[in-house]
């Protein structure tokens, strides 16, 4: 296949859109923390754009997408330092330049650890976070990407599918979030009173940016400008809209008011859940996934109270639960008329379930170990004074907002 201009155009802008999601996510999360931790929250997200990019070029891209070693467990070192990646498509043979394929994938590698930040907000040490992100990108993210998208065993042996990252991105990040939350423990004062968001308009703007960027994430995963991209575009939007609406309906039904944070949380939940399914389901499938995501992720908020863990910004309820929902529902709802790569039905569902378990287990266990080791070596939690005073001053010597002068 030759490099095709139209596909290249669409994946160029899709890559930019996915990169833009990380600032969007930073705002989405940042608005929900207290003012004194705002910059630290933004920084946890932004730093992924630096650290993961470097590691991706140096080694992670190669582990994910170069060859296939140890029966599908990991790639080789053939593309270390993007060696031999030129302007053409000789390596991967897609209709877009090889560098662009690796670039598009890089943006996913960036936002995935950034998603985790929401769970550990307001208490994790910056140095430990950077170390965690660096290690995790190489030994958790890259192999998982290989298994699912790089010709590894989940694709070829388990035969599970994942259109744009239900396993690789959301379950992966959600499981890591859970592990980190256990190692870190709750924020000071958690459970006594509700810790309130300091600037919801920024959160809502962030959600708007996420929604916008997600078109690149999901419809870009068609790797071309074609009918499948359009289908993924539409299922993505529909699931987001339905889930957002379902969430505020659920809020109202359970005795509260429809909230703006609820609406945008529902939208994100819908976007998460449709991610693995976007290019496999029809419009009815998107609606069902949207409803499920809106209602079940809303209910999943209670998990943290039931099991007493402090997942600061509900990464588990939204990304872990939403990702699992999408990966499983896709097993039921996949429509071969949309995409013959997934047929739906019992065997598909089984494959999906197995892949979910593997992704969850691998990410949870390794994340736990990395966090524990880092905690022993350098400590992963900010000092008590720092946490009280605010991480912005304690870790970055900066304040988000200044008194008017």
């Amino acid at each position: 296949m030759e490099v095709n201009g139209a596909d290249t155009s669409w994946i160029l802008i899709s890559s930019a859109l996915v990169l833009f999601m990380t600032p969007g996510l930073a705002l989405f999360y940042g608005g929900m923390v207290r003012a004194k931790n705002m910059l630290a929250m933004l920084m946890m997200n932004y730093v992924a754009m630096g650290v993961v990019t470097i590691l991706w070029v140096v080694v992670a891209a190669s582990l994910a997408f170069s060859g296939n070693e140890v029966s599908g467990l990991v790639g080789n070192l053939g593309l270390v330092g993007f060696r031999g990646v030129g302007l053409g498509n000789e390596i991967f043979g897609y209709s877009i330049p090889d560098s662009l394929f690796l670039g598009f994938q890089m943006m996913f590698a960036i936002i995935t650890p950034a998603l985790i930040a929401g769970a550990v907000a307001e208490r994790m040490k910056f140095s430990a976070w950077v170390a965690f992100v660096a290690i995790w990108s190489v030994i958790v993210y890259a192999p998982m990407a290989h298994w699912v998208w790089g010709g590894g065993f989940i694709a070829t042996q388990v035969k599970a599918v994942d259109f744009a990252g239900g396993l690789v991105v959301h379950i992966n990040a959600g499981a890591a979030a859970l592990a980190l939350v256990f190692v870190l423990g709750p924020r000071i004062g958690w459970g006594n009173s509700v810790i309130r968001p300091h600037n919801l308009p920024l959160t809502i703007l962030g959600a708007g940016i996420l929604w916008f960027g997600w078109f690149g994430f999901n419809a870009g995963s068609a790797l071309g400008a074609n009918g499948l991209a359009a289908q993924a575009f539409m299922t993505t939007h529909i699931a987001a809209a339905v889930a957002a609406t379902a969430w505020i309906v659920a809020e109202s039904v359970s005795g509260g008011k429809p909230t703006t944070l609820g609406f945008v949380s529902g939208a994100v939940a819908g976007l998460v859940a449709i991610t693995p399914a976007a290019g496999f389901v029809n419009f009815m499938g998107a609606i069902i996934i949207g409803i499920a995501a809106g209602v079940i992720c809303f209910m999943a908020l209670r998990l943290k109270t039931m099991f007493k863990f402090d997942d600061s910004l509900d990464v588990i309820a939204v990304h872990l639960v939403g990702g699992i929902l999408g990966a499983l529902l896709l097993g039921v709802l996949a429509d071969p008329a949309v995409n013959e790569l997934a047929t739906g039905g019992m065997s598909q569902l089984t494959a999906q379930a197995i892949s979910v378990v593997i992704a969850f287990a691998y990410s949870f266990v390794l994340s736990y170990v990395i966090a524990k080791v880092l905690d022993m070596l350098i400590g992963i939690r900010a000092s008590e004074t720092g946490e009280r005073e605010g991480l912005d001053i304690a870790l970055h010597e900066e304040q988000a907002y200044q008194m008017a002068e």
């Binding site: 009173s193 509700v194 309130r196 968001p197 809020e251 359970s254 509260g256 008011k257 909230t259 944070l261 609820g262 949380s265 809303f298 908020l301 209670r302 109270t305 509900d314």
Partner: protein, 112 residues
């Protein structure tokens, strides 16, 4: 001289300021506060968790006045800020020993 502090409903600020001007007040300072009082407060929701907020936004007005003007100021605030519903707020009168106008160095009642 007195320092008259009034906690009032935010939407009353403009009206109260205008009324005070008519009373002869030549200056005041206002700031935002969060007040807790008999007013019930309200419920807020954060991601499914409901909690009671018993602090409501109020505006705090401070007026330095000469003793002679104090009663007029108080009754002017009372009349203008009153809606009759809970949360109308309070006025406190504090004694002031001295007032200085920074620009001129004037002191006492001339400085007010």
């Amino acid at each position: 001289m007195k320092l008259i502090i009034a906690y009032i409903a935010p939407f009353k600020l403009d009206e109260v300021r205008d009324a005070l001007k008519e009373t002869g007040v030549t200056g005041l300072s206002a700031s935002n506060v969060q007040g807790f009082g008999r007013q019930a407060g309200h419920t807020e929701t954060y991601r499914g968790a409901e909690y009671d907020v018993d602090m409501v936004p109020k505006v705090r007005i401070e007026v330095l006045v000469d003793d002679s003007l104090a009663p007029a100021v108080i009754s002017s605030i009372e009349t203008t800020a009153r809606t009759g519903s809970i949360g109308d707020g309070k006025i406190a009168v504090l004694p002031v020993e001295d007032v200085i106008r920074i620009r001129t160095g004037e002191r006492g009642r001339d400085a007010v």
